[in-house]
Amino acid sequence: MSWRDAGPPAALVVIFVVFAALSSQFRSIDNVQNIMDAAAVLAVVTCGITFVLMMGSIDLSAAGVMGASALTVSLLVANNRNDNDLGILAIGVAVLVGAGFGCVSGLALVFLKVPSFMATLGVSAVGLGVATLMFAGVQPNISDAMLKSWAIERFLGFSHLTWIAAACLVVGWLIQRYTRLGRYAFAIGGAEEVLTLSGVRVQPYKIAVFTLAGAFYGLGGVMVTSQLGAGLVQAGDGYDFSAITAAVVGGTLLTGGRGGVLHSAVGVLLVVVLTNGLVQVGVSPYWQGGVQGLIVVAAVAAAVIPQRRRNQVVK
């Protein structure tokens, strides 16, 4: 990390300090725990999307994939709709479902040459469709003790979901730093044609990156299900764009080749602290949306100023 990456963490500290000064409730231990819990799902989803963004592609499939995985897991663990009780296996299946959707996005991108924007938008719609079919008019409420406990039980003050998110970030960081997949994703965003000239076949890596991202969304859908105690088609509503926002705020460029999982983690905290802080200091809900948007734009602008060079065109 060089000084060019210092913008987002600095912004996070500034925003945190400002809110802490304005509200004593904001700086309470309870609220810090609450912020971390609230960041858990977004962190997992953003972790997945970061790999896609690093590659210079975009992924809008999170909402649909999460919906499908939420319904999958809620219908496979103990629930009020059927007699399934697969426990941890169900969670594995849901994550695989997510990975499968991601794989489809990647295949469409590589073989059908559909731009990632359209491919993933389509996959999101398919995911929502599949979820709606599984939903079939009656909300599946989960009664699986383990899955429910994830959102409720605490370890060292944080919910199990928060620890799962932290583990995901560590895994994501390891993938980014120590695997060919992660480094190539980075390199594809930097200069794809150079990889080709060096004799690397990039297509399998693209598909793998989308599959990896899908797996993270799948886990995200499981985590939402644990939080809400029910499988909702809308489990992933809004996560697609908030994850992209968080990644970009954290310093991952939409053009690819810069940023990473740790950057995104900072971005997630920025977004969540902002949402939480505005409520804590008592900003009227009628103002929150606008204020939040302004601060996000300001944070991104602050983060990219050090990197702006003369010949760099901002699109």
Binding site: A187, S198, G199, V200
Partner: protein
């Protein structure tokens, strides 16, 4: 000096089998015959220069040698064995590697990763990185060329020269794939380097000769003669001659490249001096910005004024400031006595100022768009009637400029990126001419990367425009170019105008006079 045209060089000792040989290579592109039966011999442990104008077939030949282009006919022999090269990997397996003209490193990876990219070997096991092994592998390569670059440095933090070293270290990895001495192709390796760095590179090339064969391509013929043992000249997709470099002079090569006796001296100062009007067309007073201060400058209609200076003298920024593309802190710019509202490129355009940027590929043109679209990018009026495009009108206009500037293109709808550099530059120039209301041209290194023939054409064009009353500010590629083209030369040093040198009829200044003021 010995010049042999279309014949094998005579030697007294038995010739060892060539490291690489090309016979009768042919490649057609729609509308263009890029290679028309090229022959080429690269001997073991020699540095072979490849010279030719843009469009002579150099890049196509090089691409064929590394498997990026499949020839329509002809053979390639590696150490006497015929080979088919279908990809970069296959070429590498035969020991042929290339350092590409556009630097081919992934900027956001470390030097080590770039060096081992595509053939990581023990550095990656089951998809998992082993950074220590990777650093060792890269270090081995860097040691071969005696470079002290930190293998774990991010590539985009390295200087151009260091990146070049990384490229060479990378290409040397092909030694691991083939038991024989490799053939290393360097395509325009000096175009981004400073002169001191070029010297280092040349030492490197001489070292490479100890264990490899080198093909060296550059449009600077003095460099070619300096570093190569032998030069093969291409013209029109054919090899037209070979020159042993010992004692050869650039003029000989030029003649072979353009097919007739040409001169590398472009001094046109003896032509009639422009008639200067009372009021200068462009008048700059006390212009100051981030990297320049207090710049005064007058350019009359029909006059060419060159600005020279070392890297960092601020002349590029002055040029951009004149076009409103660089913020200024003080001073004013007057066109025909009228003050320009700054900043803003729109105001400049409206006042009849045109700018040809140095970075042709990124700032000068939109690669995938057609010649016609690139030519009419700014002057929309010329092809529109109301808000709708008038295709016929546009076509006529574009075609007329294609023929006026003799732009070699299969047609107006060809993507500009498929043209040679010289023709691309002509299209970029034409963009400012189609409107017919151009008053001042700002040319930022207009001949960068162009070969001698294309360069002459750009010079001729500049003269013609000046003759028709266009004022020109030129940031020349070399001092010779400035002296050759300009009516007056401004020398900038550390952001200020250090001297002004007139180039009167017959009074050609020497480069030394200018250099004195530059440093």
């Amino acid at each position: 000096m010995s010049v042999h045209v279309d014949q094998e060089p005579t030697t007294s000792v038995p010739v060892p089998v060539p490291a690489l040989e090309v016979r009768g290579l042919v490649k057609h592109y729609p509308g263009v015959k890029a290679l028309d039966g090229v022959d080429l011999v690269v001997r073991q442990h020699e540095v072979l220069g490849l010279a030719g104008e843009n469009g002579a077939g150099k890049s196509t030949l090089l691409k064929a040698l590394v498997g990026l282009v499949r020839p329509d006919a002809g053979e390639i022999y590696v150490r006497g064995e015929p080979v088919k090269l279908r990809s970069v990997v296959e070429a590498a397996n035969h020991g042929i590697g290339m350092v590409f003209q556009e630097q081919s490193l992934v900027p956001n990876l470390t030097a080590a990763e770039n060096i081992v990219l595509g053939s990581e070997g023990i550095a990656v096991r089951r998809g998992l990185y082993r950074w220590n092994a990777m650093r060792r592998l890269a270090q081995e390569q860097l040691d071969k060329i005696g470079s002290s670059i930190d293998p774990l440095a991010r590539t985009d933090t390295l200087s151009f020269a260091d990146r070049q070293m990384v490229e060479i270290a990378k290409v040397l990895r092909i030694e691991e794939r083939s038991q024989h001495p490799p053939v290393i192709i360097l395509d325009e390796p000096t175009s981004v380097l400073e002169s001191k760095e070029i010297e280092t590179l040349f030492e490197q090339i001489r070292r490479l000769r100890e264990f490899a064969s080198v093909v060296f391509v550059s449009h600077r013929l003095d460099e070619v003669l300096d570093v190569c043992d032998r030069v093969t000249v291409l013209r029109g997709g054919q090899s037209v001659g070979e020159v042993a470099t010992a004692g050869a002079v650039p003029g000989e090569l030029h003649r072979m490249m353009i097919g007739s006796s040409g001169s590398d001296d472009h001094y046109h100062g003896n032509a009639a001096a422009p008639v200067l009007a009372e009021q200068p067309r462009l008048s700059v007073r006390g212009l100051s910005g981030k990297s320049f201060r207090d710049v005064d400058l007058d350019v009359a209609a029909g006059e060419i004024v060159a600005i020279v200076g070392v890297h960092g003298s601020g002349r590029e920024d002055v040029c951009r400031a004149l076009f409103g593309a660089e913020p200024t802190t003080a001073g004013e710019i007057l066109m025909d006595g009228k003050k320009l509202e700054l900043p803003g490129t729109r105001a400049a355009c409206a006042a009849g100022i045109g700018y040809v940027p140095a970075e042709r590929k990124t700032e000068g043109m939109v690669g995938p768009m057609s010649v016609a679209e690139n030519m009419t990018l700014t002057k929309q009026k010329a092809r529109c009637s109301g808000p709708l495009v008038a295709p016929k009108k546009q076509a006529t206009l574009v075609d007329s400029w294609i023929s006026r500037l003799s732009i070699r293109t299969p047609g107006r709808d060809t993507a500009i990126q498929r043209l040679s550099g010289g023709n691309q530059q002509k299209v970029v120039l034409a963009r400012w001419l189609v409107g017919g209301d151009i008053k001042l041209l700002l040319l930022d290194h207009p001949t960068r990367g162009l070969d001698i023939g294309a360069r002459s054409e750009v010079y001729r064009l500049m003269r013609e425009l000046a003759g028709s009353g266009v004022a020109t500010v030129l940031l020349a590629d070399s001092l010779e170019e400035a002296i050759g083209m300009a009516d007056r030369i401004l020398v900038m040093n550390d952001g200020r105008v250090a001297a002004e040198v007139a180039c009167p009829n017959g009074g050609k200044p020497s480069p030394l006079d200018l250099v004195k003021e530059m440093v």
